[in-house]
């Protein structure tokens, strides 16, 4: 039983991170029906900006004296940076193609992904960058179960971000505008919603969440490297599709399912097939429900 609970905690940590990245895919798809393959790179960029900011603060000696403040500052700076990066990418690579076929924008997204990850490699080097390890040292032991403070921090932070996003989308005027744009761009522009602004905002929010996931992954695994965006990007995309692409709640659910299936597959059957299990679930769900778990053709929760 201890073993089960331990793996459950591992799964929920990983799933939460996938969910954060998956949201970016699903929101962008909801608004402009584009699968933004460069999204994984925002996550990687977030990991790097995080390590740069945290190392700088460590150098100043602030990390020891004000750890919470430093962490908040690094999250804020990183999320802001990646939000701007994403808006820039949208303006450069997607906006000029908005009236073209969807395939053109998709190819542009793939190109952007290669460009960004190689840019990261050239500017930051091929070696791993280590995160400061002083933060959240230690763990709690309950019987045979170990939960590290880092896992607790990640779970809390993920929870807070998901709740904030839900509030933003379903409880505020901006969220309402986003949902309106997702449903009908022309109609929403007739009631003076600027679709360009909403699209930029969607990219910014998605990238901000991915950047937060990037820092947490860096802290959790202790290091970042330039190609870290690829695999989680693919898994998160799968999570978004699993949950029903375009649906926010679906993406959260999809992320958690993929994380859980992976961890339990590795824990109870074999580690070498963990990716296989994740994708088997994806195929099985799509076979019986092609729109994904929460996906519906017309749905007012779509963003």
């Amino acid at each position: 039983m201890d073993y089960f609970i331990q793996q459950f905690i591992n799964g929920i940590t990983l799933g939460g991170l996938y969910a954060l990245i998956a949201l970016g895919y699903t929101m962008v798809y909801g608004v402009i029906q584009l699968i933004n393959f460069a999204h994984g790179e925002f996550f990687a960029a977030g990991g790097y900006v995080g390590v740069i900011v945290l190392s700088y603060l460590t150098g100043l000696g602030l990390l020891e004296t004000h750890p919470v403040l430093c962490l908040t500052a690094s999250f804020a700076l990183t999320m802001a940076y990646c939000a701007f990066l994403a808006v820039g990418v949208e303006k450069v690579a997607y906006k000029p193609l908005r009236k073209q076929s969807r395939l053109a924008a998709l190819l542009s997204a793939l190109g952007m992904s290669i460009f960004l990850s190689n840019g990261l490699m050239l500017t930051q080097g091929v070696y791993d960058k280590a995160y400061p390890s002083e933060l959240f040292q230690g763990m709690i032991q309950v019987g045979g179960i170990t939960i590290s403070y880092l896992q607790i921090m990640i779970l809390c932070m993920t929870g807070v971000l998901l709740v904030c996003l839900n509030t933003l989308v379903f409880k505020t005027k901006i969220g309402m505008a986003m949902r309106a744009t997702a449903q009908d761009k022309i109609m929403s522009s007739l009631v003076s919603i600027s679709s360009n602004r909403i699209i930029s905002l969607t990219f910014a929010i998605g990238a901000g969440l991915a950047a937060a996931a990037g820092i947490m992954v860096g802290l959790y695994y202790g290091s970042v490297r330039y190609d870290m965006g690829f695999l989680p990007g693919i898994k998160a995309f799968a999570a978004a599709v699993l949950g029903g692409i375009g649906n926010i709640t679906g993406a959260m659910l999809g992320g958690l399912i993929i994380g859980m299936v992976e961890v339990f597959g590795a824990g109870y059957i074999s580690g070498e097939y963990k990716d296989v299990f994740a994708f088997i679930i994806l195929i099985a769900v799509l076979y019986f429900k092609p729109t994904g778990i929460m996906g519906e053709n017309i749905d007012d929760t779509r963003v």
Binding site: L14, G222, S223, L231, E262, V263, F264, G265, A266, E272
Partner: protein, 378 residues
């Protein structure tokens, strides 16, 4: 007429220096193959840097008579067999005199087949799988050790020095890492060590929580970690210490990279690994250190071997006085020199011997700990 004249003028301006350059400068081309992108880019870059250093030193010492310049064509294999073969074909088209590489055994084996069709000598600094030299290719040489030497040495160390009774093995399914893990499992069973489980993870994974939780539950004496490269090894070590795993971690030569300690930090203290013994007190090593470290940073797993591979290749070409592969081979076989990494003398297979010892991570450094013949060092 005027236009014709100006065309001739432009053409001659372009062509004459080219022709002159061709007449005066003769360049010796050599190739290197290693992963410069992808998950093993760091190790591959070390190999390239080692070869570049060798060329720099060799040119300063006078180079090769008849050649003005030695040029390196560094190819990226990405540790992908298909790309490695493409890289080998590219080097064949460039008519290189010899190749240093590749890094992953799974790249070296197929690309050496392509190079051997053209009789181009290939010297691998890092591929330890036994099949690299066991296929009987005449122009395949190896500077590092062999897995079938490393695996028994590792098993003996686990049994004799650590007194382990049980072990948990994990690899990441490359030709190298899985081959070595299988060898260690076999050798360990022969020595009476009980192998509780042999797990596999995927290349490029970052999250090992599930497998580590499984390993922790078995409570084995030794956790043997056979991974391709320091990067996943550092992540796994860090995560193992986070979940409070008590098993002693033992790992292998691909982890011999100072970056391992930089990423895993305190978690890496006390980890053992097997690696070919390099005497850091030889004048050759010191000279290399002085030149390499300021330019490229700390010396990692295969920079020294790549340096030695390039140096013996260039010396053989110089002694042979030509780029004829048979003559280069004859010169290579004659060699018995002290390199930076080790004493180099090739046997008929193309191997140059292995001297695997166990290192321990202590105070952020790899410290020689145990020798299969001499027992505990120090």
């Amino acid at each position: 007429m005027k236009r014709k004249l100006s065309t001739i003028l432009v053409l001659s301006l372009v062509l004459v220096p080219l022709m002159m350059g061709g007449a005066v400068a003769k360049t010796l081309k050599i190739g290197s193959m290693s992963p410069l992108t992808g998950p093993y880019a760091s190790d591959g870059t070390d190999i390239k840097n080692g070869v570049l250093t060798a060329i720099e030193v060799f040119e300063e010492q006078g180079g090769i008579p008849g050649y003005d310049k030695i040029e390196l064509f560094a190819q990226d294999t990405a540790c992908d067999p298909k790309q490695a073969v493409a890289a080998a074909n590219k080097l064949i088209n460039l008519e290189v005199a010899g190749v240093v590489g590749a890094y992953c055994s799974s790249s070296t084996i197929p690309s050496s087949e392509a190079l051997s069709e053209e009789d181009i000598p290939m010297l691998t600094p890092a591929s330890t799988h036994q099949d690299v030299t066991d296929r009987g290719l005449p122009y395949m040489f190896r500077l590092c050790g062999r897995d079938d030497d490393q695996a028994p040495a590792a098993a003996k160390f686990i049994k004799e020095a650590l007194g382990a009774k049980t072990m948990f093995v994990v690899d990441d399914k490359t030709t190298y890492s899985q081959g070595l893990a299988d060898g260690v499992v076999k050798a360990a069973k022969e020595l009476g060590i009980q192998v509780l489980d042999h797990e596999h993870v995927n290349q490029g994974d970052k999250d090992f929580a599930a497998v580590l939780t499984k390993a922790k539950a078995t409570n084995a004496d030794v956790f043997y970690m056979s991974l391709q490269g320091y990067s996943p090894a550092a992540l796994m070590t860090l995560q193992a210490s986070r979940i409070g795993m008590k098993s002693q971690i033992v790992t292998q030569d691909a982890v011999f990279q100072p970056k391992y300690m930089e990423v895993a930090k305190d978690a890496s203290e006390g980890v053992f690994l097997t690696y070919g013994y390099t005497d850091p007190n030889t004048p050759e090593y010191k000279a290399f250190e002085e030149r390499y470290v300021p330019k490229y940073g700390a010396i990692a797993a295969y920079a020294t071997y790549a340096y030695d591979a390039a140096t013996v290749l260039l010396n053989a070409i110089k002694a042979a006085g030509s780029t004829d592969p048979a003559k280069i081979k004859a010169e290579l076989m004659k060699m018995d020199v002290q390199g930076v990494a080790k004493q180099i003398k090739f046997n008929e297979k193309g191997d140059s011997g292995s001297a695997y010892i166990a290192f321990k991570v202590e105070g952020g450094k790899f410290v020689p700990y145990w020798d299969p013949e001499k027992g505990m060092l120090k």
